[in-house]
Symmetry: C2
Amino acid sequence: MSTAEETAGGEVEPWDQVTPDAARRLLIAAVEAFAERGYHATTTRDIAGRAGMSPAALYIHYKTKEELLHRISRIGHDKALDILRTAARREGSATERLADAVSSFVRWHAGRRTTARVVQYELDALGPDARAEILALRRQVDAEVRGIIQEGVASGEFDVLDVRGTTLAVLSLCIDVARWFNVNGPRTPEEVGALYADLVLRMVGAG
Amino acid sequence: MSTAEETAGGEVEPWDQVTPDAARRLLIAAVEAFAERGYHATTTRDIAGRAGMSPAALYIHYKTKEELLHRISRIGHDKALDILRTAARREGSATERLADAVSSFVRWHAGRRTTARVVQYELDALGPDARAEILALRRQVDAEVRGIIQEGVASGEFDVLDVRGTTLAVLSLCIDVARWFNVNGPRTPEEVGALYADLVLRMVGAG
DNA sequence: GAGGAAGCTAAGCGCCCGCTCACCCTCGGC
DNA sequence: GCCGAGGGTGAGCGGGCGCTTAGCTTCCTC
């Protein structure tokens, strides 16, 4: 529920806010396991094992396996929203802010691929209440990007017919990076971020 | 293994090629279940139940649950490749062919969303051999789109710096439609296809 | 109308799942 | 030096999983 952000940058591991130490280790183990195999294919024994603990230890810190996913999803969405808000609210033209938003959002999806994969693709495994909470955050994510595009259209920087549809496409493009990005592949997160920022500016008819 | 295509159009339900009738009903039931809940969260009892049969009936037609996914994935990828090939090999400029490829590929991902979702997002659940077979098809899909973009660059229609990266982004954009498209949402598959064709032409600097 | 393949079911096997419980350390406070 | 709280374990429960098996029906063939 806390949205506190200690530093202005974005390079803090978001798991640092989780205490005690054992709970954090379990959470990180769960992120890795969920990202590799998917939520349903991951066993609580696997998560506990990765954290160097017995299966029962998990239930001291979390009520259920689903609570782990919920916590991960919440922290990840908070971080994603924070990245976009930072880009949207800096000074500069809509063009600059959209490029910044896309490149930093993409860098996060590529560089923190394991986390992003869980956050973006395991939503369906959450129960109704948790899913509703996360979906509200996603609407804020959408609004943030739509805001920049709308301002660019208003200022005449952008040429966009369907603002909602284009927003959807831009976010979709960024999010899908978590599906295909390969850490051992030929591109760095920075390179993909720069490429995507250029592609998105073309999509909105900037420059 | 057969790649025969009876009609020139693209409106045949691809499951029609599956016989006998009971095997097809099971396959369709599996597609629906996998799309709704994911492969690992789907039980063989659920699949059989949707097809109106007992759990054991599944194993008369398929050796394992994984074989069902393999068959679905194979048929789906054959269909996707067929759609792109048809667009790539028609007559017309690179601009026309790319727009055609994107709009028909997107229409399929939106209109046959259940199938596309399984095909695109449950790949990890396949064993090594089946996955390798499907990945080979995906490389062909990539090559088909890359070919059109390359021809557009050669003819001077397109202005693209990174052909491979742009190809990846175009395909990623289309594929992700299967994740977010909502049948009860405000857009028809045709509308999304048209919007996306326009966005992709902008991405490659056409027109 | 006997024989046999094909298609299906009821019952259930063996396994592993999420999760619990009884118990055991470790360590700060008095 | 005893106590209680917090963090941990080994063993295991109840249940649902993927899959198998024995046996039944249907229907085609001659």
